[in-house]
Symmetry: C3
Subunit: 137 residues, 3 copies
Amino acid sequence: MSTDLYVEVLRFYAGQMALLDSLDLEGYADTFTEDGVTHHVHRGQKLEGRGALLEHARAALPRYREVVVRHWNDNYRIEQGDDGALTVAYGSLVTLTDKEGQVRFESTYAVTDVLVRVDGRLRTRSRTLLRDRPAAA
Amino acid sequence: MSTDLYVEVLRFYAGQMALLDSLDLEGYADTFTEDGVTHHVHRGQKLEGRGALLEHARAALPRYREVVVRHWNDNYRIEQGDDGALTVAYGSLVTLTDKEGQVRFESTYAVTDVLVRVDGRLRTRSRTLLRDRPAAA
Amino acid sequence: MSTDLYVEVLRFYAGQMALLDSLDLEGYADTFTEDGVTHHVHRGQKLEGRGALLEHARAALPRYREVVVRHWNDNYRIEQGDDGALTVAYGSLVTLTDKEGQVRFESTYAVTDVLVRVDGRLRTRSRTLLRDRPAAA
């Protein structure tokens, strides 16, 4: 994989996470393909299509009036398949900052995405989120 | 924007944050332009010029004898204006580690900088820090 | 240093940290040179050679059945010596997530590595970890 493509993927995530964290839900949904799937494995929930994603995100909005959410991702490993699709694996740490500036943390997550290029732009075709769980759990 | 420029900006921040976190205040101030402005919006404070920045930072030093501060930035979005200046937006998480190794967190922040090139080197011309604040606050 | 090399180093760490955090200890040890040294300065411990590293890591495994560990590194500063070896300095934040999804933090660290190229692949020849300690401590 070229340096250009690796950095393009870093920039894609910077933009996508900023849309999510600023609660620009339409903008966030638009970074997915029309049929994009978000799979929250730990709660057995699969959102199929941009519409389902958006509906789910909107329903969660009231919860995000009391805290600012930020996603801190790291360690992006990227592989390109024969069809050009990119499989991207990374860790995600989620902070919740309240009105006093207190920072709390959600669990950490392992995320695996598939990105494809549509009309020249990268988009997420699937996102699989696995909440971190110790071996002994 | 080219991959080269995006990565140059990532490297600029890695260096600048390392100077700040190691309390090399002169080195940190030197990464700003002579007239560089730091604007802490949440406390209505505007430090105009490298001298004011340095004076403010030196006054805060005693506070940093008891903890090690580290800045963890993420999701750098960069846009280049017609004049070549770069507007860089990112999130910042600040840790404070005490002598027992306990980690505390300051609030999270949204930061927007303007970078310009002076004698071939990138420097910060302005930094605007906005403490994260929930919609309901 | 070229953009290509800087990004190659970012990708090296993404891969190495993912091996460590997924407890693939053989895979992790294999990212070191055969004689690679890990120096935990804060506890005066020097592990010399891949075998010693692996033995030490295996002994720590039981501790990691109860929590998921993740390393969040930032601010990579890289310098290349005349012999081609790369000195890489960065900050490291370590999270421990338990079975309830509660996130705890180890101390923050300053890490300095030397990377060399062996058979075309980057490997760690030495890693020096310094636990953050305030000036007044």
